[in-house]
Structure formats: structure tokens, C-alpha cells
């Protein structure tokens, strides 16, 4: 048997074993469903993204103010709204 043939055969066998591995490992699983997040988890995820976005916006505003990109008046006009939004998302977190 030539080396090339041997390598080819090994490759084919290894590929089949690897592809079949999930079925060989669990021939009769109790649950074979591909789990996806339910509606509640989806809502929590959307909320977590919204919360991070609100906190991030507040941080950006503070930083823009400290670096002089936002005037004091603009800062005062925006900070209240962003703080309220961040507080709401944190409240509903708890």
C-alpha cells in the first residue's frame, strides 16, 4: 500500500468519524433539540443591550463634556434625559 493511499484512507476514515461523532457520542439522547432562547430570554437580551447602550451614552456625554465638545448648557439639557433612561433600564434589571 503506498503512503499516498494510506494517507487518503486515513483522511476519509477520520472525516467520517468526526462527522459521525455527535451521533456516536449520544446514540439516543433524551433531548436532540437545538435550543434557542425563549421569548423571556430574548426580552432579557434586548433589555441588556438597551441598558448597556444607555449607560454608554451617559458615559460618552460625560466624556464629551469633560473634553469640551459639549457646552455646559447642552450638557445640562441632555444629561437628565440620559440619566433617567439609564436608571429605568437598571431598575427593570433588578
Amino acid at each position: 500500500m503506498s503512503a499516498a493511499l494510506l494517507i487518503g484512507a486515513l483522511l476519509a476514515i477520520a472525516s467520517v468519524v468526526l462527522v459521525a461523532a455527535p451521533f456516536l457520542r449520544e446514540p439516543a439522547p433524551a433531548d436532540d433539540r437545538l435550543l434557542s432562547p425563549d421569548a423571556a430570554q430574548q426580552r432579557r437580551l434586548a433589555h441588556a443591550e438597551e441598558r448597556d447602550r444607555a449607560l454608554d451614552a451617559l458615559k460618552e456625554l460625560e466624556f464629551d463634556h469633560r473634553t469640551g465638545k459639549i457646552s455646559d448648557d447642552d450638557y445640562r439639557a441632555q444629561v437628565g434625559l440620559l440619566r433617567r433612561r439609564a436608571a429605568e433600564t437598571l431598575r427593570s434589571d433588578g
Binding site: 430574548q42 448597556d52 447602550r53
Partner: protein
């Protein structure tokens, strides 16, 4: 050996087909083990492709001319390095490299991007599998690198232009970029198919997109330098369709990298982002099609081939399929928030996006128009440098200016008073620079003065951003300036790494403007002892010198260079005549000036039988800033790519806390 290569490719094709079909079935019907099996098929396909790659490399190293590919692209006298790089010197090898990189990326992305969520990942696998299947199909049925023949005594050799050290690095870099864009595309499609249009696909592919974009950028700069030192016409970018083919997806990916930040920060532009990621991927496929189909006459089109219709069909399929999917998912992609002001950071990102996409599409039209014209009328129209330069100036200069404006504008909205304060110093620096340039006589090029003035504005705004940011951080705690600076960058690598990339683009703009708008060109026929002068350099031709190397005969013109009457060195432009390939290449001579960043560039245009030389001499001010820009670009990209433990913890808390990981 060829049988092993063929068997490995067939195995890869079957595994990728399985990953596509079984993966789609598993995702559709929610079968966990089948989804895992499809994912494993991607891993096995990678292994099979590695075996095929090794077979071809061994055949190349052993000069096994019974492989048609080896015989067509190498010869016995070709040095080993170039013999191995001939792997991607021809069509079949290039396609194999595409498949290898794709399988490698697929495995790495699928195994590391758990955060995307299992339901998204289950659709990513068949999407990656589909792209892989297409390339494997080409390699098995249309353009096999393992075709055999009766071995000739010697091979045809490698195109002389490809016998350059850049051959080892430029094509793999471009391929890492082209192919890398498959990953964000597959995750975007996976998210749409799974109806999960939250940010997880973006978070999971952020680094992959950045890496692909960085590779594509570096690959293009390497290609430009290769053209500059090797092709021998005195330039670095000729708006060649294949050069454009790499630029277009890079522009689309640049737009995506900016607009995706708006989605992350404000939850906006979801439709635009999936469109951009699709555009970038389709343009990368189109780039490969242009390079490999032989449809255009170009330095890059080494072969005419039959893969063109296959590629066109696949590009049409992907484009139509993606657009249909995006259309179907439009209700899920609606944003809850809107742009608050046209004077805000978000708005500048949007303007930047429009300009980048407009530039990419006008370049695309410049590439496609001659092909369409030939198909319809039978005569090829030419779209030349003036067309591209017009749009580069029209869209590129405003883009340059926006790079300076963006960082100075606040998120959400900014008042005119605050803008006046933040713009003061950059604007003053730009005006001062413009006046100084005009006083120094740079007004001979209007575009040059505008580009330099804008460049100074951008650099000043970047410096100001770092200074103000560091100062703000210093004000927060008990740290010195260095501590505040490193904390500033470490806490927002994407932003500050991005600014470093902006600085690289400015250097690039300065280099391009200097070397094109202000270059000097002189041509003349010189006999031994004659001289000519270019930009203050006196060039004296001393005669020819010839030598014979292993695979070519070299002829060099000895040119002594004097400046202000002082001898500063000898330059030796000439030509190489390659034996096996029967081709002649231009070998240029370049003298770099560290002080000015410029080059004296000599081309031996014609070596005449009467012993005279037709010499072309170019003085290219600031051209080396283009290559320096490449190093700064790499530095900026590395900063953005560097792992951020704080960010990782935040994301872990967000996703694992929300318990969405199945």
C-alpha cells in the same frame, strides 16, 4: 501523489456539501446533533484541504512536472522560494489558497464565536459551507491543481513580475482579507436566517471584520510597493481593474466598520449594516472573479480560464439570495431610534459612509463599464485615470476632511458654540499650513494644497483628541500623564486605534499628493559620458554592465548621481532577460532620501544596440510617507484588535447574564 491531492479535494467538497445541506436541515428543524455534525464537517474539510495544499507544495518543491500546474508555473532554475510561492502564482493554486483560508477562517470563527448564540451559529455553518462548496466544486470539476500530463524536461517558469519577495506576502495578505470578509457575511446571514437581529452577530464578528479589513489594507499597500519597485513605470497604483477589485471591498468594509458603531451605540442602521456587509463580501467575490477569470487584460490576469461563468453565476446567486433575505427580514431590522441632529458624531459617520460607498460604486462602474460596453457593442471602452482621479478628488477629499471633523463633534448633537471651541485649533493650524504652502510655491497644484491643508486639519484634530482625552482622564484620578494616556487608549482601543489608522490615511494622502501632484519627470537618450538633470540631481551615464544569473541575464546602466556638484552615489537601473520564460523585465533603481521622504527613481526605458540608453528619471517628493503609512496602519489596527479584558467581561455579563447561551 496527484491522486492523493484529488482525493483530498473531493473529500473536502463532499464534507462542505454535507456541512451546507445537513447544516441547513439541522438549523431549519432544530436538530442539535446534526448541527454539531455539520460543524464537525467544516473542521474535517479544513483538514482535507490542508492535505491537498501539502500535496501541491511537495510537488512544487520536487519540481514534479507531471503536475500540469507545476510545469506551467515553475522551472528547474527557479529559486526554491519562488517555486513555493508559485502555489498562488496561477489560477488553480490561488483557488486552493482561497479554499484553505476559507476553511481555516470558518473553523476558527465557528469555534470561537460562541457568543453569537447557537441558533445563529447553526445557520452560519451552512452559509460558510455553501461558499466553501463553491470553491471546492471549482477545484474538483473545473480548475484542478492536480491535473497530470507526461512530464516535460523543464517547466515554463514563473512570470518575471512574480519573481519578487513581495510575491511571498502580498497575495496571501489579500486573500486573508478577501476571504475574511466571508465571516461577517456568514454571521449576518446567520442572524437574519435565525431571525436574531440583535447585536450578537456584530459582537461575535467584530475582530474578524477588523482583521480581514486590516489584511486587505496591508495587502494593497504591499501590492502598491511591489508595483513601485518591480513593475517599473514609476508609479504605485494605476487604477488597474484588479487593483480596484481589492480597493472596493476595502472601502465597503471601512464604511461597515464605521456604521456598525452607530448600531452598537444607538441601535440604528441595521438594514444599512447588513447591506454593507453583503456588499463587501460580494465585492470580494467580484475581485476574485476579476483576478481569476481572465476577463480583463491586466498584469494580474495570468491566465484565460473557464471559471468566469461559474463565478458570475455564484455572485448573482449570493447577491440575489442575500437581498431577498434582507427584504424578508425588514420588519425585524427597523430601528427604534432616529438621528437627533445633522451635526453630531453619528451624522459625520453617515456622511462618511455615503462618500465611501459612492467612491466604491463609482470605481465599480469604472471597472464594469468597459466589460459591459464590449459585451453590448463589441468594442471595449476605456475608463482611464481622469475618471478615477475626478471621483477620488470629489469623494476622497471630503472624506479626508470628515476624518478631522468627526472626532471633534459630540455624539447625539452639538451646538455651534461648542463646535467653534473644538474646531479653533485644528482650523487655525490648517489655515496657517495653507498660507505657508502657498507662500512656498505649492500653489502649482490646487488639489495638492487642498489635500495638505485638510491633512494638517485632520492631524491637528487627532493630536487634540489625544491631548484632551488624556487631560480628562488625568483629571479623574491620581495618575501622571503617561498613566492617563495609556488608560485612555486601553479603555477605548477601537476609538484611539481608529485615530491612529486615520493618521495613517493622512500620511497616505500626503504621500500620494506629494508624489503625484509635485513629481518631476525627465526623459532623454544618453550615450556614455552624457548627463541629464532632474530636480537638482545631475545624472551621468557611465555605460552598461552585464551578468548572468541562474535563471536570467542582467544588464545594468551605471548612473552616477551628483547634487550641488557633489557625488552622492551610483544607481543601476536595467533589465533582466529570463531564459525559461523568454520575457524581459524592467529593473528600476531608487535612491531614498530619509530627510525629505522623497525618491529619485530611474528607469532604463530602452537599452539601444548602439550603446546608448533611453533613461526616464522621476523625482517623487514624500513618496515614502505612503510606506510609512502602512506601518502606522498596522500599529493602529493592532491597537483596535488587541483584546480588551474589561470589554470582554462586560459582554460576558450582558449575554450570559441574559442567559441566552443555549
Amino acid at each position: 501523489m496527484p491522486d492523493l491531492g484529488r482525493a483530498a479535494l473531493v473529500t473536502s467538497f463532499l464534507l462542505l456539501s454535507y456541512a451546507t445541506v445537513a447544516g441547513a436541515f439541522a438549523a431549519w428543524h432544530g436538530r442539535r446533533r446534526l448541527a454539531e455534525s455539520a460543524q464537525n464537517a467544516l473542521v474535517a474539510a479544513f483538514a482535507a484541504t490542508v492535505v491537498a495544499t501539502v500535496v501541491l507544495l511537495v510537488a512544487l518543491a520536487q519540481h514534479d512536472f507531471s503536475f500540469t500546474y507545476v510545469a506551467n508555473h515553475t522551472s528547474r532554475e527557479l529559486p526554491l522560494g519562488y517555486t513555493l510561492t508559485a502555489f498562488w502564482g496561477g489560477q488553480e493554486g490561488s483557488l486552493l489558497l482561497w479554499l484553505l483560508v476559507l476553511c481555516g477562517y470558518s473553523v476558527a470563527a465557528v469555534l470561537t464565536a460562541r457568543r453569537a448564540g447557537r441558533e445563529v451559529l447553526s445557520w452560519v455553518v451552512p452559509t460558510l459551507g455553501l461558499v466553501g462548496t463553491f470553491f471546492a466544486l471549482l477545484l474538483v470539476f473545473v480548475a484542478s491543481p492536480f491535473a497530470t500530463q507526461v512530464a516535460p524536461a523543464d517547466g515554463a517558469g514563473l512570470n518575471p513580475s512574480l519573481q519578487n519577495p513581495y510575491m511571498a506576502i502580498h497575495p496571501p495578505m489579500l486573500y486573508l482579507g478577501y476571504v475574511g470578509l466571508t465571516v461577517p457575511f456568514a454571521f449576518a446571514m446567520g442572524a437574519l436566517l435565525a431571525r436574531r437581529t440583535d447585536e450578537r452577530w456584530i459582537v461575535a464578528t467584530r475582530r474578524w471584520t477588523l482583521a480581514a479589513w486590516a489584511f486587505l489594507g496591508v495587502g494593497q499597500l504591499l501590492g502598491a510597493h511591489w508595483a513601485y519597485v518591480e513593475i517599473g513605470w514609476g508609479g504605485y497604483y494605476a487604477w488597474d481593474p484588479v487593483e480596484n477589485a481589492a480597493l472596493m471591498p476595502w472601502l465597503a468594509a471601512t464604511a461597515f466598520l464605521h456604521s456598525v458603531m452607530i448600531q452598537e451605540k444607538r441601535g440604528m442602521l441595521k438594514v444599512w449594516n447588513v447591506l454593507l456587509v453583503t456588499l463587501a463580501f460580494c465585492l470580494s467575490l467580484f475581485g476574485t472573479f476579476l483576478t481569476r477569470s481572465g476577463i480583463i487584460q491586466s498584469i494580474h490576469s495570468f491566465t484565460q480560464s473557464s471559471i468566469g461563468p461559474w463565478f458570475l453565476g455564484f455572485i448573482c446567486l449570493i447577491t440575489a439570495g442575500s437581498l431577498a433575505l434582507i427584504f424578508l427580514r425588514l420588519p425585524l431590522l427597523r430601528s427604534k431610534t432616529r438621528l437627533e441632529s445633522l451635526v453630531s458624531r453619528e451624522a459625520t459617520f453617515l456622511y462618511n459612509n455615503l462618500l465611501l460607498v459612492a467612491l466604491a460604486l463609482t470605481i465599480l462602474w469604472g471597472v464594469v463599464y468597459p466589460l459591459l460596453s464590449e459585451a453590448v457593442t463589441g468594442e471595449a471602452a476605456t475608463v482611464g485615470k481622469p475618471y478615477y482621479n475626478f471621483f477620488l478628488h470629489s469623494f476622497g477629499l471630503p472624506l479626508l476632511l470628515l476624518m478631522g471633523i468627526g472626532p471633534l463633534v459630540a455624539w447625539r448633537r452639538a451646538s455651534l458654540r461648542a463646535l467653534g471651541r473644538t474646531f479653533l485649533w485644528p482650523l487655525a493650524a490648517a489655515v496657517a499650513a495653507g498660507i505657508a504652502l502657498l507662500a512656498a510655491g505649492a500653489g502649482s497644484s490646487r488639489i495638492g494644497v487642498i489635500a495638505y491643508t485638510f491633512s494638517v486639519f485632520v492631524l491637528a484634530s487627532i493630536v487634540l483628541e489625544f491631548v484632551r482625552g488624556t487631560s480628562a482622564r488625568k483629571g479623574l484620578g491620581d495618575v501622571g500623564w503617561p498613566g492617563a494616556f495609556s488608560s485612555l487608549v486601553a479603555r477605548n482601543r477601537r476609538r484611539y486605534g481608529g485615530y491612529v489608522v486615520h493618521a495613517a490615511v493622512v500620511l497616505l494622502a500626503i504621500g500620494i499628493a506629494g508624489s503625484s501632484a509635485y513629481q518631476t519627470v525627465r526623459e532623454g537618450r544618453l550615450r556614455p559620458g552624457d548627463s541629464m538633470t532632474v530636480a537638482g540631481n545631475r545624472l551621468v551615464f557611465r555605460g552598461f554592465q552585464t551578468s548572468t544569473e541562474s535563471n536570467h541575464r542582467a544588464i545594468r546602466a551605471n548612473i552616477d548621481v551628483y547634487r550641488g556638484g557633489e557625488y552622492i552615489g551610483r544607481l543601476r537601473p536595467g533589465k533582466n532577460q529570463y531564459f525559461a520564460e523568454g520575457q524581459v523585465s524592467n529593473e528600476v533603481a531608487i535612491r531614498h532620501s530619509v530627510l525629505t521622504g522623497g525618491d529619485l527613481f530611474l528607469i532604463a526605458d530602452q537599452v539601444n544596440a548602439d550603446g546608448s540608453l533611453d533613461l526616464k528619471a522621476l523625482d517623487k517628493p514624500l513618496v515614502n510617507l505612503i510606506w510609512l503609512a502602512g506601518l502606522v496602519f498596522i500599529g493602529g489596527s493592532l491597537i483596535t484588535l488587541w483584546p480588551d479584558a474589561r470589554e470582554q467581561r462586560r459582554l460576558a455579563e450582558r449575554y450570559e447574564g441574559a442567559a441566552v447561551q443555549a
